[in-house]
Amino acid sequence: MALCEGKTFKYSNASILSYASVVGKAESDGPFGDEFDEVIEDNKGGAQTWEQAEALFQQKALGHAMDKAALIPAKMDLVLAGDLLNQCTGSSYGLKDYYIPFLGIYGACSSFAEGLLLAGAMVNAGYVENAAAVTSSHYSSAERQFRFPLNYGGVRTPTAQWTATAAGAAIVSSVPKAPYIRAATIGKIQDMGIKDLNNMGAAMAGAAYDTISRHFRHMGTHPESYDLIITGDLGQVGSEMLYELFRRDGVSIEKWHKDCGLMIFDREKQDVHAGGSGCGCSASIMCAHFLKRVESGDLKRILFCATGALMSPTMVQQGGSIPGIAHAVEITSK
């Protein structure tokens, strides 16, 4: 069976009008601590439960992004939002009070790129004027749902990643201004047969390789064409695997590659093993750091490829493997 190549969409009329990030304490202690818009020191922000806290993170992230663009909820046409919790709890409870037309999305940790490319497509097509992409993750709510209770003394393996307590929001509009969304490639589900719940980087590296190399082919580009190629949360294991997958094609991407999962925490000082993860990880690092640098012109052309492990605890318990996905969004300063 011939493999489907898919398509890379090109956008002519989609800009990121504003963006904002909200993070927890551990993330603010990381290398980008002073670049986030708000830090919620106790990771709960006055909420009663972790799930309510995650909802609050999303609500605040979108609130900050709207403030920065001087927009009120009534001027927003669409919000695309996702998180890691069942039923996208963080999104639906966090954004309900804004009364903005809402589409919930799920691509695990790739959701922010999914939201951005969909928001860009809706704006570029002229269906909406202002569309937001919002995602979040919360260490405590994710641990509770996917792993063990917070105070359980289970030991993490060296390949395990630490879910970031963070949210990011970006508002896409047709007002021409940097950063511009120029192109996007939708990822295909790649099941590479990885079954280890504690090795998400390995489960996602194949998907990142597939999407990035298809994006290169369709755009006629190569790693040197970009200032940076930014993956979501491959972590140490996934990043190394990505390099090796590209090396098999005779392509070297190490020099241009950054991984948000390897950036959000200080891996020397913070005990996060293979790095950070979660939909909030790439969303907050993009919104706090990279989009700023594209807007200022410091970075001219970047490829943002958020990666997600489409992991179902039930399927894994039944002996199934963990499929991965990655979506790529090309962002430029001109």
Binding site: L3, Q48, T49, W50, R144, F148, P149, L150, N151, Y152, G153, G154, V155, R156, T157, P158, T159, Q190, D191, M192, G193, I194, D196, N199, A202, A205, G206, Y209, D210, V237, E240, M241, E244, L245, R248, D249, D271
Partner: protein, 151 residues
């Protein structure tokens, strides 16, 4: 993808660092041994205070369980466990931690469907298979005694 799942699995294995056993095993020995030494000390103390061996043993277990529950609530036991590994998991304190941590976490879903139901989510299998094994052992013991007489 131009790579088979088997090749990919090998690639993943090559890039996944294993646990550094030269560090984890001695740490488990020291911390696990420390907990057991504390147990011995308590046992000796209770016996010294005039309790019989059976009562002293029971009280030692109760003390260790209490301490583990307390340290779990203070968010210290899981930190100790990050260094101690199986050394904190195997002693009775690990079992207490496995009961108390879900109880604390799922209190937010209520006392019945949250705390009550989820309390056994980690320790439950240990109880099920522990009791099953003891029943099986009892049957085997009974049969052996039946045929071989009271040895």
């Amino acid at each position: 993808m131009n790579i088979s799942n088997q090749e990919y699995g090998e690639l993943a294995k090559r890039h996944s660092p294993p646990s550094s056993m030269y560090k984890t095993i001695p740490m488990a020995f020291v911390i696990g041994g420390g907990i057991c030494t504390l147990g011995e000390a308590l046992l000796n103390l209770y016996e010294y205070l005039g309790m019989g061996k059976t009562n002293a043993g029971a009280l030692t277990s109760m003390t260790l369980i209490f301490l583990s529950a307390l340290f779990t609530g203070l968010k210290l036991y899981d930190r100790l466990a990050q260094c101690g590994g199986a050394g904190t998991l195997v002693p009775i304190t690990g079992f207490a931690n496995a009961m108390v941590s879900p109880a604390l976490d799922f209190k937010s879903e209520g006392f019945v469907l949250g705390l009550g139901a989820k309390m056994f989510s980690i320790a439950g299998p240990v109880i099920v298979y522990g009791i099953s094994a003891s029943v099986l052992y009892g049957i085997i013991y009974y049969i052996v005694i039946l045929f071989m007489g009271g040895l």
